[in-house]
Symmetry: C2
Subunit: 205 residues, 2 copies
DNA sequence: CTGGATTTTCAATAATCCGTGAAAGAAGGC
DNA sequence: GCCTTCTTTCACGGATTATTGAAAATCCAG
């Protein structure tokens, strides 16, 4: 519907640069390093395979940095490698489907951040609420007990205190588990699962 | 269901410390500073109002740091201030409902990170696809044009290139908008909206 | 195998972020 | 008002993280 005006190549490049900058900033606000996000943005917005030198030149970063970032992106599954005949350089292609992109990012973040937290919470939960059926010799260890106990702070812990502690941990556990399940479901679903979910929810809530 | 064993106060504190550490680590993986997350965790897990000195002592951080973190938490709406009669110190209480907590965190992150990105994307979109109905005098400006154009890189930009650029920006815009709307909906919903959503989705997808 | 082209690694350096503590500021009691 | 108590601010320095660049490793054609 829009009429496309002719724009200069310079303007095009400027728009791309601003896009890359914005994307990099957003990446940084998440746990992704700015450069890594920028490299992805470059590959995405230019919409063509680029090699390490292209990335270096366009983003004005060192060869090492470019190499590292591209590798990390490949590990996350966000870019794929390609080759051109008669050219020994390696080219990189950005995942084009932004919905697939978001799924892949979520998958990695669940795996790297949520799962460890879940594990720790479960462990803590077990440490204060030992079920009767727990095997006698189970190596349930609080943090090491090797230092001599300080003389004070010896007043007994009431059952109420323990219950409260457990309740809090449980509440958080429930939240994190919900997030995890929700994420897993999204990650597992194919296509534009997120969009679907959004539409569904807008009718429900 | 579980039998609560008596545990020493030391063990209790150790469990709390591990909880705090885990929470802090997770916070750091998100955009929240580690200390801020730890202070919240402390307030949450001990389940009682603490003042600045309590926080300093327990977390072994400086007064300034404690003060800053508590203030930031209050700004995010994650802790509230309270006073005790006959005590001039200010006490802080953690938001107890983890679902409310997650809503507040999401609200802030939407506001701080998603909205600016949306604004930029819209702006870029407008910069390359000028609608015919656009007012003549609208201050639509690409990045400043004050530098002399380099002699090369002057070959014209094809319509296809512009279309492709716009398509990419649009795709991303759709994704970010979906996330935003989804988040807004969640933020707006009261109670355990997330949990509800999770249940709903599990049946749908 | 060799030589050149390309990529990866990593120690040094730079940039950034984070925490400190002293000093300044506010809030109350008297 | 003035002193005491508590809170906030902020320049500095320390710690962490990112980036560089050159050397080492890898790869392939001939």
């Amino acid at each position: 519907m829009g009429r496309h005006e002719t724009i200069s190549r310079r303007q095009l490049v400027q728009v791309q640069d601003r896009f890359i900058a914005a994307w990099g900033q957003m990446g940084a606000a998440w746990g992704v390093s700015r450069t890594m996000a920028e490299v992805y943005a470059l590959l995405y917005i230019t919409a063509q395979p680029l090699n390490t030198d292209d990335v270096m030149d366009r983003l004005r970063i060192s060869r090492g940095n470019a190499s590292m970032s591209l590798r990390a992106l490949a590990e996350w599954g966000l870019v794929s490698r390609a080759h051109k005949r008669g050219d020994r350089k390696e080219y990189f292609i950005a995942e084009q489907d932004v919905w697939a992109l978001s799924r892949k990012v979520m998958r990695e973040r669940l795996r790297r951040e949520v799962l460890p937290l879940l594990a720790t919470l479960h462990e803590l939960r077990d440490a204060t609420d030992n079920r009767t059926e727990q095997p006698a010799g189970a190596p349930l260890r609080l943090a090491s007990d090797d230092e001599p106990a300080p003389a004070d702070a010896r007043k007994p812990v009431t059952a109420a205190e323990v219950r409260q502690l457990n309740d809090r941990i449980d509440s958080l556990l429930e939240l994190v588990q919900t997030v995890d399940r929700l994420g897993e479901r999204f990650v597992g679903s194919d296509g534009k699962g997120l969009r679907l979910a959004a539409n569904m929810l807008s009718k429900i809530i």
